[in-house]
């Protein structure tokens, strides 16, 4: 185990190991810079590694993410710290940065774990599985998910009863309850923020009944039901495990809505809902799928064609805002909405499952990571872009760049491009720093 408060030095610190952070890391590492990725979760890969298939090409997300992720993990110039956060980031007079890196214990000796899952089988504690968006349970000793990277066990100490069953089951004796928090002092020449997004919490719109009506789920939960590493091997509605045959999507849930404090469009939910509708038509050939929308934002390369394809497959697109959902005794749901295409009349339609196409929101607390310089946010709390036309990755602090959804809603191709832009600018900053030609 590395000693505590050791000083470590890298060319670049990347905060967040989603697809944007990972791509930026690879770009820098490939031209010879040493990169540290700090990821607060147990695995890198962000949201993308958990998706089913991706619009508009419908390739399997796990299949295209895992090679990237393993490239990141094995790259000689990249170090990945999971369960780790950076804080107290200070910009020095010479243009370099210092930060405190805090790594939470996994209670498993990473080098020795073979991922055999025997600890998981032995552990008696069951809790909700956050990586399956609480659709199923997991143990307190667990492997985050089957394609996690690193794919090694972790002990969820908050729920662990210290019964010792995992210790006894582990064939390589790698469970170690004596592990403690490790801290490092980091020196780096540049920082890239790639902290991604969180999902809108739909309980903030009580009239949709999320959390109260069992058959109202979020799109991320549907994403998991459709993924190759899915929990049930088919699509089930939560109340009674029945295969649904009339599914409704409510678009713009928590987006374009000043009443919940999020006036902007989330940019991906129209398309991910259209994608899920197409996948559902394959998984449940008999099912009817209806999308209740305001405008369909099929703007990107291949998107409008993808939208047309869904219409041709028989997905029903209904223009109208859903005002309210009520639950029937059998678990079915009644949607009350204004049917704009149908002449603006208020209608009520029954569905046996409702998926909320929840919007995306920035992660909080990123500005607070910086101690002596102000990281300016935009009006919607995304990381502000100080020169968004010519250098979209530049933030208010010179030498600090932003990649991916951390700067605003975007899909995977745009996240990749934004990561390319951040890494290019970061490489330039490091180069000028090394040549001492930078204005800091």
């Amino acid at each position: 185990m590395p000693e505590n408060n050791k000083t470590i030095e890298y060319d670049a610190l990347i905060i967040g190991g989603g697809i944007a952070g990972g791509e930026a890391a690879l770009n820098l590492a490939n031209v010879g810079y040493k990169v540290l990725i700090v990821e607060k979760d147990l695995s890198i890969g962000g949201k993308m590694i958990l998706l089913s298939k991706v619009f508009p090409t419908l390739d399997c997300s796990a299949c295209i993410t895992t090679p990237k992720v393993s490239e990141i993990m094995r790259h000689p110039n990249i170090t990945v710290f999971t369960s780790t956060q950076a804080s107290n980031i200070i910009k020095k007079d010479d243009g370099t940065f210092e930060a405190t890196i805090t790594k939470q214990p996994r209670y498993v000796i990473a080098e020795d774990c073979t991922g055999c899952q025997l600890c998981e089988q032995a552990c008696p504690v069951s809790v909700d599985d956050q990586f399956q968006y609480n659709l199923v349970g997991r143990k307190a000793a667990y492997i985050p998910f089957s394609i996690a990277s690193p794919r090694i066990a972790a002990i969820d100490i908050a729920n662990c009863t210290l019964c010792g069953a995992c210790e006894r089951a582990c064939p390589t004796k790698c469970i170690d309850f004596t592990q403690t928090v490790e801290t490092y002092s980091l020196k780096a020449k540049t920082v890239i923020i790639a902290t991604g997004f969180q999902l809108f919490d739909p309980t903030l719109i009580p009239r949709y009944g999320y959390g109260k009506f069992k058959n109202v789920i979020t799109a991320m939960q549907m994403e998991r039901q459709l993924a190759p590493t899915r929990p049930f091997n088919t699509i089930l509605r939560p109340s009674d495990g029945k295969m649904p045959d009339n599914i409704a999507y409510i678009l713009c849930t928590g987006s374009r809505d000043k009443t919940v404090g999020n006036p902007i469009c989330s940019q991906v939910c129209c398309m991910y809902s259209t994608k899920q509708a197409q996948l559902l038509m394959g998984a449940l050939p008999m099912a009817d799928i209806t999308l209740y929308y305001l405008n369909i934002r099929a703007f990107g390369k291949g998107f409008n064609e993808f939208y047309a394809q869904a219409q041709a497959m028989g997905v029903q697109f209904t223009k109208g805002k859903v005002a309210k959902i009520t639950e029937k005794e059998n678990g079915n749901l009644l949607l009350r909405y204004e049917d704009i295409n149908g002449g603006g009349v208020v209608k009520e339609t029954e569905h046996d499952m409702v998926v909320l196409s929840v919007g995306i929101l920035p992660n909080q607390g990123i500005a607070e990571l910086f101690s002596n310089d102000e990281l300016v946010l935009d009006p919607y709390n995304y990381i502000g872009q100080s020169d968004f036309l010519a250098s979209p990755a530049q933030t208010s602090i010179k030498g600090v760049f932003v990649a991916g959804v951390a700067s605003g809603p975007m899909d995977i191709p745009d996240s990749i491009l934004s990561a390319g832009s951040a890494s290019s600018d970061a490489a330039n900053y490091i180069r000028h720093l090394n040549k001492k030609t930078v204005s800091v």
Binding site: F299, F303, N341, G343, A390, A393, M410, D414, S423
Partner: protein, 641 residues
């Protein structure tokens, strides 16, 4: 011949083992002569499994490995690098695909799937036995990049690369830089104008000694490949000396008798044959448009900077990578399409030039404009036409234009005939703002587009409106603005020279839409900005910088490692029948003379190992390294035994 082979059969967490009896496959393989270890593993790609393979190589002296798992597209690089790090030549590793090609394809027949998996792995073992250790081919790479197109994307990429210490040739076909942005004044969501942005980029480019800007320049030929491209660039003269006298030039423009439609203002004004698009345009020297110049000599009489003796030149440039940023064309409506042809029907780009030219009063064709009707999606989202795509920039650009118009002229009223507004992301705020300033929104049914007609000298837009309960509405418009979309550049010369493939939408195609959006299948050629698909400025810049990063990683070391899977010629048996010459799609083959005999020669830095030359060779004198006849025959033998 390898005789200590390690075989690893992957369960893929059930993806394979649910249908294939992987334990049995491993047991069967253990029986084959030369196989030292044969084991199954839950996830071969997991860190712990990789560690085990590496340990086996190091400790048990394994001299060849076979991994049977998913498609090599996914994890070939993973296991190659495991082999390499453990000290085994990566070409002594052979991959067997028993997921896509077996378990997933035969999920309905488990026993047969297992049999097939056994065969696939057996053949892989037969191949690894005969495999040779190969070394990558190192070639020198030019530390120079050609950037084609000096719009905002090309200029920004050039600036970034030059800043990274790379020499850049910036090749612009027009005589002025800035592309479409130079034609725009105010830009959405910023106080910076298009001109200011172009000026900012231009000044940085001129400041950087690493960049050479060519205007009036066009690439007419490309030879060579990644690391060493040879380009021929045709330079059309400006007919004006570099150090020129400004006031004399202004005179010259004045006296030129030729007037043509000004493309820069989309044909709404005229210009001379000697011209500049706008006063502060870069480079700040006018040009003579040789197509329309009559050589009357009037300008020469008043200006000493005119130089008709300048000749067209063709330059030879050697570069390591090519970054293409040739942008887009605005869509031109067809005759009668949404009233196109009526004198108060204009396109959005034209309207932007009109706003630019009207100071305090909005006037067009001598008429004051008050009611403006915007017709959306013209040339985009076509149901019958070819352009199925959404042009992405135009909803926002139109709403922004409407705000701009209201701010500038106050007494205008805008009517938006939309097909559902697509102000994605933060651009939603622009939509909100235009609604709040009193703009009126109407939406047509997909099969009933709005109609534009002239009635008694008035221009009327008719719509069956979704948003007001199917009401048939009519708006009398002083000006109809067709919101024309983005199209791929009509001139396809450059794509033919570079052989960049295009997608269904005719924009340049990337290798992988999700993960590799700026690389093309032509190694060493990257694409940026709106030539890859509709984009706004920020998105164009992101793609420009990404393409710059990729192109940079190709040339920055000055050396490139190319895979050694290439064709080799048997000099003894080759009779130069020259069949291979035509078969090779990459021009890698040429004729050489050795010991008085003509034979084929394969340029190893150009050969891609596609194997096209092999079957046509009359004397069977070509072999593909990594797939030698010997290896393939041994695989077939294993399968029929």
């Amino acid at each position: 011949m390898k005789h200590k082979i390690g075989v690893y059969i992957c369960h893929c967490g059930g993806n394979i083992s649910d249908y294939v009896d992987v334990k049995r496959v491993a047991e069967e393989m253990a029986k084959i002569e030369g196989v030292e270890i044969s084991v199954d593993t839950i996830f071969a790609c997991a860190d712990s499994s990789q560690k085990q393979i590496a340990n086996d190589i190091k400790e048990k002296g394994i001299d060849g490995i076979v991994v049977a798992s998913c498609s090599p597209k996914l994890h070939y690089p993973t296991f190659s690098s495991v082999a390499e790090h453990a000290g085994l030549n990566k070409y002594n590793y052979v991959h067997a695909n028993i997921r896509e090609q077996c378990s997933w394809a035969h999920s309905d027949n488990k026993p047969k799937a297992t049999e097939k998996a056994i065969q696939i792995v057996k053949a892989a073992i037969a191949r690894v036995k005969e495999s040779e250790a190969l070394e990558t081919i190192e070639v020198d790479s030019q530390k120079i990049i050609a950037v084609i197109g000096a719009g905002v994307a090309g200029m920004r990429a050039a600036d970034e690369l030059a800043d990274l210490g790379i020499k850049v040739y910036l090749i612009e076909r027009e005589f002025f830089v800035g592309g479409r942005i130079a034609q725009l004044d105010y830009l959405c969501s910023t106080t910076e104008t298009g001109k200011e942005l172009v000026t900012r980029l231009y000044e940085k480019i001129m400041d950087n000694p690493n960049i050479t800007l060519f205007t009036g320049a066009e690439v007419i030929e490309k030879k060579g490949s990644i690391g060493n491209f040879n380009l021929k660039v045709k330079i059309t003269p400006r007919y004006i000396k570099n150090k020129c006298k400004k006031d004399e030039l202004l005179k010259a423009i004045e006296v030129c008798p030729v007037e043509v439609l000004d493309e820069f203002n989309f044909g709404i004004t005229k210009r001379k044959a000697i011209y500049k698009n706008f006063p502060s345009e870069y480079p700040q020297i006018p040009t003579i448009d040789s197509k329309n110049c009559t050589r009357c000599g009037e300008c020469e009489k008043v200006c000493s900077s005119i130089d008709f003796s300048q000749k067209e030149e063709v330059l030879d440039l050697s570069v390591g990578s090519i970054l293409v940023a040739t942008g887009f064309d605005p869509y031109t409506p067809k005759e009668n399409e949404f009233g196109w042809g009526i004198d108060n029907v204009v396109t959005l780009p034209q309207f932007r030039r009109i706003i630019n030219m009207c100071d305090d009063k909005l006037v067009y064709n001598g008429k004051k404009i008050k009611h403006i009707a915007y017709i959306y999606c013209v040339g985009s989202r076509q149901v019958d036409g070819e352009n199925k795509y959404c042009s992405r920039y135009c909803c926002t650009a139109t709403l922004y234009t409407s705000i701009l118009t209201k701010n500038k002229y106050k007494d205008v009223q805008s009517y938006h005939f939309t097909r559902g507004i697509r102000t994605y992301g933060k651009q939603e705020i622009v939509y909100d703002k235009s609604s709040r300033q009193g703009d009126i929104f109407l939406q047509s049914y997909e099969d009933e587009p709005p109609m534009i007609e002239q009635k008694k000298g008035k221009t009327i837009v008719k719509i069956n409106d979704i948003l007001t309960n199917k009401m048939e509405l009519e708006v009398e418009a002083d000006l109809v603005v067709l919101v024309t979309g983005i199209e791929p550049r009509k001139d396809t010369n450059i794509s033919e020279v570079l052989k960049i493939p295009k997608g269904r939408d005719k924009f340049y195609n990337e290798i992988h839409m999700k993960l590799r959006p700026v690389e093309t299948v032509i190694d060493g050629v990257t694409i940026a900005g709106a030539c890859q698909g509709p984009k706004n400025i920020m998105e164009s810049m992101n793609s420009a910088l990404s393409a710059a990063a990729k192109s940079y990683s190709i040339v920055n070391k000055g050396k490139l490692n190319l895979p050694p899977i290439i064709a080799v010629v048997n000099k003894e048996t080759c009779t130069w029948c020259n069949k291979c010459l035509d078969a090779c799609p990459y021009d890698a083959i040429s004729k050489i003379s050795e010991n008085g005999k003509d034979i084929a020669f394969v340029n190893e830095s150009v050969c891609k190992g596609c194997g096209m030359c092999l079957p046509v060779c009359e004397s069977d004198s070509l072999e593909l390294l990594g797939y030698t006849n010997h290896e393939i025959e041994n695989m077939i033998k294993a399968l029929v035994d």
